[in-house]
Symmetry: C2
Subunit: 230 residues, 2 copies
């Protein structure tokens, strides 16, 4: 069976990674059985066989693939007879663009709203590593990063305008049914709701309704882990 090394918090059922969730949903989309192995930030030895130290790492028989986008491309190529994640080469190129937009825009804004909430749910053995590495990246304390949430949440909401406009045309970013672009864009929302009660989007935002549709997919897969914000 396919194995997915999946970031976990102190609780084994807290699976909050915005990078692992799209892979999990891609596996469900393809209908491939998998085991999601709980992994913590400091378990570098456990995934050393992949040649690097970050999850998601996917092991399929003899093959090891890391990086969410590389895994998506691998699954599409290795399982062409299963439902497509991209719908052809053009769709694949633009799904990559949405992956980039998600990382640099949605996740970039969202992390400034939930960084201390992530810190609160991670395993004790990860806390020093997390604080040190993130404080180095941001050049300030975790607490300072999230200090001005009210400004930050406004920036996040404004930045979602292209997604909002797409949802005025079709129920999913990828069209009438969801595909990789939806799974990847959903990642940061699932991340936030797994660790934080902070409300990223208003309940009357079309993005909120899309988020609800994403939660409902695959027999409510996104609710089968520990969640703090419905």
């Amino acid at each position: 069976m396919i194995q997915l090394y999946d970031l976990a918090g102190a609780r084994d059922d807290c699976r909050f990674s915005s990078n692992c969730w799209p892979v999990r949903m891609a596996l469900l989309h393809k209908g491939l059985p998998f085991e999601a192995i709980p992994w913590r930030f400091t378990d570098k030895q456990t995934i050393a066989f992949s040649g690097q130290g970050l999850v998601p790492v996917l092991v399929d028989g003899d093959l090891t693939v890391f990086d969410k986008w590389k895994i998506a491309e691998y699954l599409e190529e290795a399982y062409p007879d299963r439902p497509s994640l991209f719908g052809g080469e053009r769709g694949q190129a633009l799904a990559h663009f949405v992956t980039n937009w998600t990382s640099s825009v949605i996740a970039g804004h969202a992390i400034r709203l939930i960084l201390t909430d992530i810190f609160a749910v991670i395993h004790d053995k990860d806390k020093e590593y997390f604080r040190t590495s993130r404080e180095q990246r941001f050049g300030m304390s975790l607490e300072a990063v999230v200090e001005d949430r009210d400004t930050g949440v406004g920036e996040l909401r404004r930045s979602l305008q292209p997604l909002r406009m797409s949802l005025a045309r079709t129920p999913y970013l990828s069209g009438d049914t969801p595909a990789w672009a939806d799974y990847v864009a959903f990642g940061p929302f699932q991340w936030a709701r797994s660790v934080s009660r902070f409300q990223l989007i208003k309940s009357d935002d079309p993005v909120f309704a899309w988020r609800s549709r994403m939660i409902d997919l695959f027999d409510q897969a996104a609710n089968k882990v520990h969640i703090l914000n419905t």
Copy 2:
């Protein structure tokens, strides 16, 4: 022959609209002959037959279509045997996302850098309309909008990160060859170079190299109009 009502400046060969350029390139992509009719902001009567007052307006025989995205969808459906603009339904949905991203992000930042330069090249008969409508939209004078270009250009450049990341994978946003997503994202760059000498992106930016590839398409179509910034 297909007719495209195309925004022009004081000079008939100044065709600067970020919304008309994608349509022009889509027609070239499809290999459809067309006539691009110069039109000014205040020529509302000329396109009243379309039921609204903005270009692009495309007339194909008995059919009239307006709005760049609606025109792209029309061309794809009406000319399915010509090269595809989207590469299937998934590609079409995500090309719509790129259209939205271009309007709200690239064009949204770029207009704050070139607004007075647009004013300088438009027809005298359009000047009062342009100043009044834009000053109302921005809630300040044209000159005040572009006052802090140095901050604005930094924001624009940062906002291009998802495009930059895509160009690290393939030469065009749409993959190995260009399609609608490239044409629409190129719109604001062609707009800027048609009216302004202000440098939106640095020459060592991968986006700059992509912009050069876009200029080269269709026998350098983007250079066959009046240009201020090479």
